[in-house]
């Protein structure tokens, strides 16, 4: 499932870029992410917990920045397996920055998330609806994180 959007930040493009490049930035935007650990300067491991009604999932998730074209374009991929082996979750996110002025930048993002396994087949009805709101929360977190880091 694909989620796209854009928003504007009042900050210099380089500052936004430097912040985005830190793997913990994107990793910490994943809703339910806890226990984050840096593997190297491009890779982050986290435990993601989510709950939809009666179903609770705990994913061990790895986020890795795979493409960089400073300060304009960034791509990160992530994959996680449910600790109870009920499914695998993967995401691919690209973020593009466009300088509007010296202190204003447009952030445009595209995030593709997918869920495979029993959670997807039997939990489809439950998870699909949740996936939409998790995706929305992810992008809200990204927006807030960037705003709070780059103001003041």
């Amino acid at each position: 499932m694909l989620m796209e959007g854009k928003f504007t930040l009042k900050a210099p493009i380089q500052e936004v870029w430097d912040f985005l490049l830190k793997p913990e930035t994107l990793a910490s935007c994943i809703p339910g992410a806890e226990k984050m650990e840096a593997i190297d300067d491009k890779t982050y491991e986290s435990v993601v917990k989510q709950k939809v009604g009666p179903i609770s999932v705990k994913f061990k998730f790895t986020t890795k920045i795979t493409e960089v074209d400073p300060p304009r374009h960034l791509k990160a991929v992530g994959q996680g397996a449910d600790i109870a082996k009920a499914g695998t979750f993967s995401q691919e996110t690209t973020v593009d920055l466009t300088e509007i002025s010296k202190n204003e930048v447009e952030v445009s993002y595209s995030s593709n998330v997918s869920l495979v396994g029993r959670l997807a087949t039997f939990g489809e009805r439950i998870m699909r609806a949740k996936a939409k709101s998790v995706g929305e929360e992810f992008t809200r977190n990204l927006q807030e994180k960037l705003k709070s880091r780059t103001t003041g």
């Binding site: 939809v52 009604g53 009666p54 179903i55 609770s56 109870a84 082996k85 009920a86 029993r118 959670l119 039997f122 939990g123 489809e124 009805r125 439950i126 699909r128 609806a129 949740k130 939409k132």
Partner: protein
């Protein structure tokens, strides 16, 4: 594969509440299990303790009440409600709804309380109960709470139940004179979940054909069963014409937030809402005129 669990069988409500309060997060409640076991068999839900309340007979009843109208215990099976002479006489739409719910085997064992607490947005009872202005009672060791069924489901498969709380009763008020309620759902095969479900309840003023009150409640069109209040507002207080019901359908189709899934696209669900609100509205109106 179902994972092992410790199995507890309280005999009374009090016992059940005590266990539920004690084991909290590590436990799950099972009544008929017609929704829960499907998930447990896939390993998607794996509680350490399973509290089986199906045997608590004090919560299994369909009773008339002079003040409230109809009182249904949370552990009453769908089949009991479907076949109850009391329900068929005074609250026929409930029996009709139960008749469309899943299949006989599921209705024989599954309970209305379990259904409401599972809070599947495609569930059949919630829209009908909401259109009938039904209320419900929950209980915990701390006491009881009452609320409208409309306020019970908060999100996909999430309810307003607090830790240690169980749903114990549903109350359905007797309909005022000149009230007609109807329900239908669109599904791909008989016994399937609703692709979209629509319940409409219309109360007419005596003799003038003016809509005194209207409720339109939908299933499978949003994260929870929902009322389309703008569509209702377009009809309330007016003389109901064919065009007015058509308009209500149009407005309703813009108010809903359906998802696209393997069964239907978002657009198709909106179209179903548009058509069915009109169609069910007509039936409710006809029943209101006869009442």
């Amino acid at each position: 594969m179902i994972r092992d669990f410790e199995y507890l069988t309280p005999k009374t409500l009090k016992e059940a509440l005590t266990l539920w309060d004690k084991y909290g997060d590590e436990a799950k409640i099972i009544a008929g299990g017609q929704s829960l076991l499907v998930l447990m068999r896939q390993g998607l839900v794996a509680p350490k303790y399973l509290i089986d309340i199906k045997g608590i007979s004090e919560l299994n009843y369909v009773k008339p009440d002079a003040k409230v109208g109809l009182r249904i215990g949370a552990l009453t099976t769908h089949r009991t409600i479907e076949k109850s002479p009391l329900v068929r006489k005074g609250f026929a739409v409930l029996a009709e709804m139960e008749n469309r719910l899943a299949s006989i085997q599921t209705r024989n064992w599954g309970t209305i309380g379990g259904n409401i607490c599972h809070a599947d947005p495609a569930g059949d009872p919630a829209p009908v109960l909401i259109s009938l202005k039904a209320t419900l009672t929950t209980a915990s060791l701390k006491g009881e709470r009452n609320m409208a069924v409309e306020d019970f489901s908060l999100d996909y498969f999430e309810t307003a139940l607090e830790p240690g709380e169980l749903l114990i009763e549903i109350q359905v008020p007797a309909a005022p004179p000149h009230t007609g309620t109807a329900y239908t759902k669109f599904n791909i095969i008989q016994s399937d979940l609703a692709t979209v479900g629509v319940a409409v309840s219309i109360t007419l003023g005596s003799g003038d054909g003016i809509c005194q009150d209207i409720r339109i409640a939908l299933g499978a069109a949003a994260p929870t069963a929902m009322r389309v209040k703008k569509a209702e507002a377009a009809v309330k207080g007016k003389k109901i014409t064919e065009n007015l019901l058509k308009e209500a359908g149009e407005i309703a189709s813009t108010e809903v937030e359906p998802i696209s899934d393997i069964v239907a696209s978002e657009e198709y669900r909106r179209e179903l809402v548009r058509v069915l609100v009109n169609r069910v509205g007509k039936e409710a109106l006809a029943r209101a005129k006869r009442a």
